[in-house]
């Protein structure tokens, strides 16, 4: 039997040491040439890959996730670190801009201005439970903050403490091997530790993936500091899927199949799980949906806390008058509920909030206008999906127009789960999907969150940072004006 020890909380004294080391490391870590930091990111990726046989079993023991899933997740995690190392080495992300002096400028003589983006300083990352690798200690927030040149403190998720501790050791050691300053990375433990770190003035930004409730508490804490800081929270998302009558006619069974696979995959513990399926009232897919849902094998949830939260929300949603059970799940099997649009619109607080786990809600609409009404009533989402056929342009256009203000990513004839790492990916959406819809936590643009522009005016060459010097010693793209 595998024993999962509980890892003791980081003490206040220990946290102070870690924070001071991070603050002390910020200048040197942030000022390193892009090629050096790129090498550090690659070294971390290599070390994680090399530790696969140790890390994956640890993760399996603490999360109930399969080896195949965790192998894939590790591959994604190290791919991401290497992708970021390419972006850093290339140097475009610094947006080095040189606007030379111009005595004849329209508004009067203009000085020599040179702008480059600089890391904010130590970043606090609240790890998620559902991706113990890709959104936890070595995940996207960590990778993007390190890539930006910010020391990182990860507040470990209590769902996988041993894994978090070990990953922390591996990353710290790899960074040390690659000559990063001591203090560039650390993992801390405990709820109180997390909030204390978030309040500490040495922390200059924070990122979070988790529940709306916890995320909002931390967001409020970050904003109410004497010095407020950027807080990039990914909270809750319903990820509605709208299906037009034509799409049901053309491929109803296929849609039922795809939907069930998407909402039940990983026991529904994905931020992009489709939580609402909008179907025309006469869809006739109940049997197919029930059959597919019932055929899904059991899957334990990640941990007891999540499971308790799921059970409670499942109960809340199920007892709403007008909600009926299509597929009655249990602790490990998926639950599929059904209702109509008027019921949904009458109970937005209960039915339009995410249920984290293997549950989804089929909602029937009586016509185009009712579907539009539902789209307009939704809060912010990471994704919104439309299944439609070519013969319904007005319905499709009308829905896309109404869903666009509600989501960061709009999908057509597909499923929202699965988030590609791409320069064109937006994984972020209007509140409560994220606390700042202008940013993504997946893809290389995630680096931008942790940088701020600094302009140098008439500063002599020898005192300028390398990124904006005329001799361009880092050999990075410099945008030149005048």
């Amino acid at each position: 039997m595998t024993t999962i020890d509980s890892t003791p909380d980081t003490t206040a004294a220990e946290l102070d040491v870690v924070l001071q080391r991070a603050a002390d490391a910020a200048e040197a870590f942030g000022a390193a040439p892009p090629t050096e930091r790129a090498r550090q990111l690659r070294t971390v990726a290599d070390a994680l890959d090399a530790a696969r046989d140790e890390v994956v079993p640890l993760a399996m023991a603490e999360t109930h996730l399969s080896r195949a899933r965790l192998d894939g997740e590790l591959a994604r995690t190290t791919f991401q670190l290497r992708l970021f190392s390419h972006v850093v080495a290339e140097g475009e992300y610094l947006r080095a801009t040189v606007d030379g002096a111009d005595t004849g400028f329209a508004l009067g003589p203009k000085p020599d201005l040179r702008c480059v983006r600089w890391p904010l300083g130590p970043v606090l990352v609240f790890a998620a439970s559902n991706f113990p690798l890709a959104f936890s200690v070595p995940g996207g927030d960590t990778a993007s903050a390190l890539a930006a040149g910010c020391p990182v403190l990860v507040k470990a998720h209590p769902g996988h403490p041993q894994l978090s501790r070990r990953l922390g050791e591996i990353i710290t050691e790899a960074l040390r091997d690659a000559d990063a300053p001591e203090g560039a990375f650390a993992v801390v433990f405990g709820f109180e530790t997390g909030t204390a770190a978030l309040r500490d003035e040495r922390i200059t930004a924070a990122a979070f993936t988790g529940s709306s409730r916890a995320g909002r508490v931390l967001f409020d804490l970050a904003q109410s500091r004497p010095t407020p800081i950027p807080f990039f929270g990914e909270l809750g998302s319903l990820n509605p899927v709208f299906v037009t009558p034509g799409a049901v006619r053309a491929r109803g069974t296929e849609i039922a199949e795809g939907f069930v696979a998407s909402y039940t995959g990983h026991a529904g513990q994905l931020c992009t799980k489709p939580g609402l399926l909008l179907l025309p009232a006469d869809h006739g897919l109940d049997a197919a949906l029930v059959q597919r849902s019932a055929a899904v094998g059991p899957h334990r949830m990640l941990n007891d806390r999540l499971h308790a939260g799921y059970s409670q929300r499942r109960e809340e949603v199920t007892v709403v008058p007008g909600v009926r059970v299509l597929a009655e799940g249990d602790d490990t099997a998926p639950t599929l509920l059904a209702t109509d649009a008027p019921t949904l619109l009458a109970h937005p607080d209960t039915l339009c909030e995410e249920v984290f786990g293997p549950l989804s809600l089929v909602v029937t609409y009586s016509g185009k206008d009712e579907a539009f009404q539902v789209a307009e009533a939704l809060h912010g989402n990471l994704t919104a999906t439309l299944h439609a056929e070519d013969d319904e342009p007005e319905f499709a256009t009308g829905l896309l127009k109404r869903l666009r203000p509600k989501a960061g990513r709009l999908l057509f004839n597909g499923w929202p789960t699965g988030v590609a790492v791409s320069p064109a990916m937006q994984h972020g959406g209007p509140y409560p999907a994220t606390t700042d819809s202008r940013h993504t936590s997946v893809g290389t643009a995630a680096i931008d969150r942790f940088l701020r522009p600094v302009t140098f005016q008439n500063v002599p060459q020898q005192l300028l940072p390398a990124a904006v010097r005329d001799d361009n010693p880092w050999d990075i793209p410099q945008t030149r004006h005048s």
Copy 2:
């Protein structure tokens, strides 16, 4: 005699109408082709230029600013609108990105992903008093939000109500002439109106220029909404100027002259006014500083409220033990005070906070380490300035390194007042200079604040927004991957 009527506050019912019009206009205004919005911005600029002979006298009567200053400010304002119209027409600001489908992608088949930035929606702008044109109704926040495609509600500053009302009429009419939807622009009046609008869910972002106290209250309001929104506040900045012993020896009198011109210009009512001058203890410039300050002609402040606030802060700073008066100003003449670094460091709450008006503080340091200590003790600033000579590289490097984390713009041998409109300008800095150091309120990058990325996944060409279609009907730059 010019009579300044007080403009009545916008009523709650009027505000509701204006907000609903803005919300209704958001879709059409935001979806307009870049060339159309560019034309709208140019039409606004033309209308403002055409109204110069009406607008400038109105501004003079309400602000005590000179015709020359206001003529220049109007030129800057319309230049800015035209510059933004160029940026919009060019279309790069949309960051249209196309990442085609890739079945052979390392992490599994990748869908077709296309990302474009979309306007957030109605933006609330809190106008400033010190630039009744360039940072008020037609100012940088308005110009950048309109350029982004966001309807704008300006909460007028009470310091120039008639001017604000008239500017609102001119802009609204110009936008109407240029076929912008009704509701794309409005001016509202009253403190309660401003906070009510900020709380309203139809407002999706806000910008503010003003005092730290008011700015923080509004920031807190924006963040504590059920749906928090981006709030770009420019609050207070000390704009320290450090002078090395070598610079004093080489050009002490010139520095004294430049400093006095900079801190007294426009009665010190500039966000980049140098509020601290750090000099070596044996600088010997007291006489020159006093003489120059005394020679500055009287200048009434913008309004009675600012003047009352100034008098109070002036008193607070003057009575700190260890602060002595170099030049004793009065209601209209500049005040120059002096102290030493230990006194400054002992009274940070009083001495390291902005005094908005014609006052500055000369602080002497006993050596390099004490100068470094002061730099390290400072809060965030819009600017920090260094005057140094070539023979002091260690002092210069050490100061720049310590000032860089404290400011958005670093100047060498110059003065911080005067902010060039440039793609390399950063007008924004660590808190409390601004509430989000990652953004600028001057320069074309200001547009970025009001846009969020939206990704379209596998959406057919005919349903895609023009910006990311393969036929590129807007003829804008599209970054293409794979």
